[in-house]
Amino acid sequence: MKRLRFIDSNILILASLFLIAGLVSPHFWTPENLLNVARAASLIGIIAIGMNVVIITGGIDLSVGSVVALVGALAASFTILGLPIYATVFLTLAVAALVGLVNGSMVAHLGFQPFVATLVMMTIVRGVGLVYTDGQPIYVDYPPAIEFLSRGELLGLPVPAILFVLVTLVTWYVMRFRTIGRQMYTIGSNERAACLAGVPVRRTKLIAYVYCSVLAGLSGLILTARMGSGEPGQAGVLWELDAIAAVVIGGTALLGGRGSVWGAFVGALVIGILSNLFNLMGVDPEWQNVAKGAIILLAVLVPVARGWIGVNGDRGMRHG
């Protein structure tokens, strides 16, 4: 029952937005535009999936936007240096993992508050990117294999969207069916009880942060491939907030322990559709922010409002 209701509610939100968007702007429903939406939503979406995992453990990761920028700068620079494609991909993702490792260690081993630890890394990582590139964008002609990450298509679908769906599926599987997924929910629900019951709290948190950071790195690779440049200052600015917004729209509690992977998936799509719609309608970028904020508020109010009208709106007991 419960599961059905949650799928309903998420799909309901998405479907109604789809409908409204089409009615407001007929161009929205063209296949070309829908693929654009998917492509654009994937960048934030992939990050949101990782962010969702961290938030479920009771943490948060503010450094993802900076990771996007650093990975882009490094990928551009490595390509110019002539590193092979696979080395470029591997090394940049390894750097992203390293950032996650530092985030996770600060939280799990040194006891920093996740907000503070990742705020520190957000600033440092952004700075490292700027230092590395002297603050200048690096323009580069990526080899086709990397361009494929952003512009490629498989079976008529954009590769970023395919990656987004794949990442969501894998994460859903792990969070729902694997021990570590359950342990993440447990830690987020009651860390002390989890610890006393022998759950490896530190290791599990560490993995969550590394995973989130690697996904941010993947998103960074797609972005730099699309732009044909590494932008240490401009890329990924405020993306952490978009990712958090997607997670919140999806119904994940920022307190941890609750939330679903598909919720974050839908949340990212909602944000993607909104941006697209605003562009189609020619809304000023300034007003777009205001409208986006209002819609996030609306999404968060839905479960609260259900409580007001007495419908059991407990979106909490979703695991996976």
Partner: protein
């Protein structure tokens, strides 16, 4: 310790107070003389705190009157009690951790000068004088969270004294203090008494009563059952008053003492921690249930935490099956066959929002990790079997564990330990806050575990429970072992005395409880 001819400051007469389901106080007379130190004693639930709450104006009696200085008064608020000079220092100190010593001393009654500005220099001068007389050597500007508990207590006392203060009520003030701090504290109390203050201690500690109190009033089950001058009182007489005749039962059920021939499963040798435990030693055989008896702050929980690897001892060794071990944390402890049922079921024991199934297998997840997914079928079958065995009342194992009653929640924790295959069960207050039926079930289960060869360490604040379920009882006071009794020698008065801080056999070697109370 001779008191002058007493003049009565406060006289409470015929005080009654009922809470839903409990008659907390019935027709209690209680008086306090000027300049005396009075001990108010009784078992948990005897009504001491209720009586003091009424005196502090925090709670209103259903019946009875309060006379102060010969005039009848009503306390409808703590402010009314304050205005008569009655101050209370609760066990949980009422200080604001991040404010300075000075700010805390004047909390709620900041002084203003004639222009309506805060008179910090005056307050600083007076608080400084007062605190230095109390023996506080630190700065007035230190945030109180950086002070030791003893120093925080001084701040509380100073806070009371900067108001008009004629009566200071203190709830177990020495419980969190170490030995030297207690001595210093006693000096301060004597000084306050000499300056004419009346002091009431709610206490469990014999040394408090016999070293500094003049008079003792004993409550039992909401009634005043005795009163005596300390100089005319023996320790055993005091315990007799506290226990009444209620203690005879519980001793009948003789059990086999087969475990005495069994091997020692857990051997604790002289463990100490920096802040509390001191040379704690005891051992648990296979098949034996060992009770830890002690008051709050006696170190019961701390011992279990050390055994479970959560805290590190500063000295001592722990042996399991003869092998020295030192677990780095719960994970290792579980792997080594040691499991803990934490004291606070809701915040430390269970993940309330998660299903019964998840909670029951939290410590044994590895067993259900398949190649591709958690083996849900196997897990569900196992959890159902465990629930059946422990007679848990539940609808579905997919319900959140928070929906279960306290007793059933406790059973889920036991189920978790069973599923983790532990041989040594550390159970911290497993019967707290659960109904009688569930308690019985837990007792039976613990006995059953022991009969199958498990070693159990059982903590309870209720001595009767320990008498029922344990094969031997280790008594603790302020982090020290003050006595160990085997089942055949169990004596409630002796345990009570040891728990209250009296060492060894004050009552003699083979006390007959019946003769004591005759």
């Amino acid at each position: 310790m001779e008191v002058q001819k007493p003049d009565v400051f406060i006289a409470m007469q015929g005080i009654s107070k009922a809470y839903p389901g409990v008659q907390a106080l019935s027709n209690v007379d209680f008086s306090i003389h000027s300049g005396e130190i009075l001990a108010l004693v009784g078992e948990n639930g005897a009504g001491k705190s209720t009586l003091m709450r009424i005196l502090a104006g925090a709670s209103r009696p259903d019946a009875g009157s309060i006379v102060a200085d010969g005039r009848e008064v009503t306390f409808d608020s703590t402010a009314a009690a304050h205005s008569l000079g009655i101050s209370t220092i609760y066990q949980e100190l009422m200080l604001i951790p991040d404010l300075s010593v000075l700010e805390n001393v004047y909390l709620g009654h900041l002084r203003e000068n004639r222009w309506g500005m805060l008179d910090w220099s005056g307050m600083r001068r007076d608080a400084g004088d007062l605190l230095s007389r109390l023996g506080y050597a630190g700065s007035l500007d230190t945030p109180v969270c950086e002070l030791s508990v003893a120093e925080q207590q001084l701040v509380e006392i100073a806070k009371a004294l900067t108001r008009k203060c004629r009566l200071l009520i203190m709830d177990e003030p020495t419980a969190p203090l170490n030995r030297e701090e207690v001595e210093h504290f006693f000096d301060i109390v004597r000084g306050l008494q000499a300056s004419g203050l009346s002091i009431v201690f709610i206490t469990h500690h014999l040394n408090e009563i016999f070293e500094i109190c003049h008079r003792v009033v004993v409550l039992r089950q909401g009634e005043r059952v005795g009163e005596a001058m300390v100089s005319e009182l023996s320790e055993s007489r005091l315990v007799e008053l506290m226990l009444g005749r209620t203690m005879a039962h519980g001793l009948q059920s003789k059990r086999s003492i087969a475990h005495l021939n069994a091997k020692i499963a857990l051997d604790v040798q002289a463990i100490s921690t920096p802040d509390l435990l001191k040379d704690v030693s005891f051992s648990v055989h296979k098949g034996e249930v060992v009770g830890l008896a002690g008051l709050m702050g006696s170190g019961r929980t701390e011992i279990l935490r050390v055994l479970y690897g959560v805290d590190k001892p500063s000295a001592g060794t722990i042996k399991i099956d003869g092998e020295p071990v030192m677990f780095s944390g719960p994970r290792e402890a579980l792997a080594g066959g040691v499991g803990l049922g934490p004291e606070d079921r809701k915040s430390e024991g269970l993940v309330l929002s998660m299903p019964i199934r998840f909670n029951a297998t939290l410590a044994s997840m590895d067993r259900y990790s398949g190649t591709f997914a958690i083996l849900k079928g196997k897990e569900a079958a196992r959890v159902k079997a465990l629930c059946e065995r422990l007679e848990v009342k539940y609808n579905s194992i997919e319900d959140s564990v928070g929906k279960l009653s306290g007793g059933n929640q406790q059973k889920i924790i036991l189920a978790r330990l069973l599923d983790a295959d532990v041989d040594i069960f550390l159970l911290d207050e497993p019967t707290r806050g659960i109904d009688i039926g569930a308690k019985e079930a837990i007792f039976e289960l613990v006995r059953e575990l022991a009969d199958k060869g498990a070693a159990v360490v059982f903590v309870s604040s209720v001595i009767e429970e320990l008498l029922r379920v344990c094969d031997s009882i280790v008594c603790l006071n302020l982090g020290r072992v003050t006595g160990v009794q085997q089942r055949e020698d169990f004596s409630m008065p002796q345990i009570m005395l040891n728990v209250m801080g009296s060492d060894s056999d004050t009552l003699g070697n083979s006390p007959d409880p019946a003769s004591l109370l005759a």
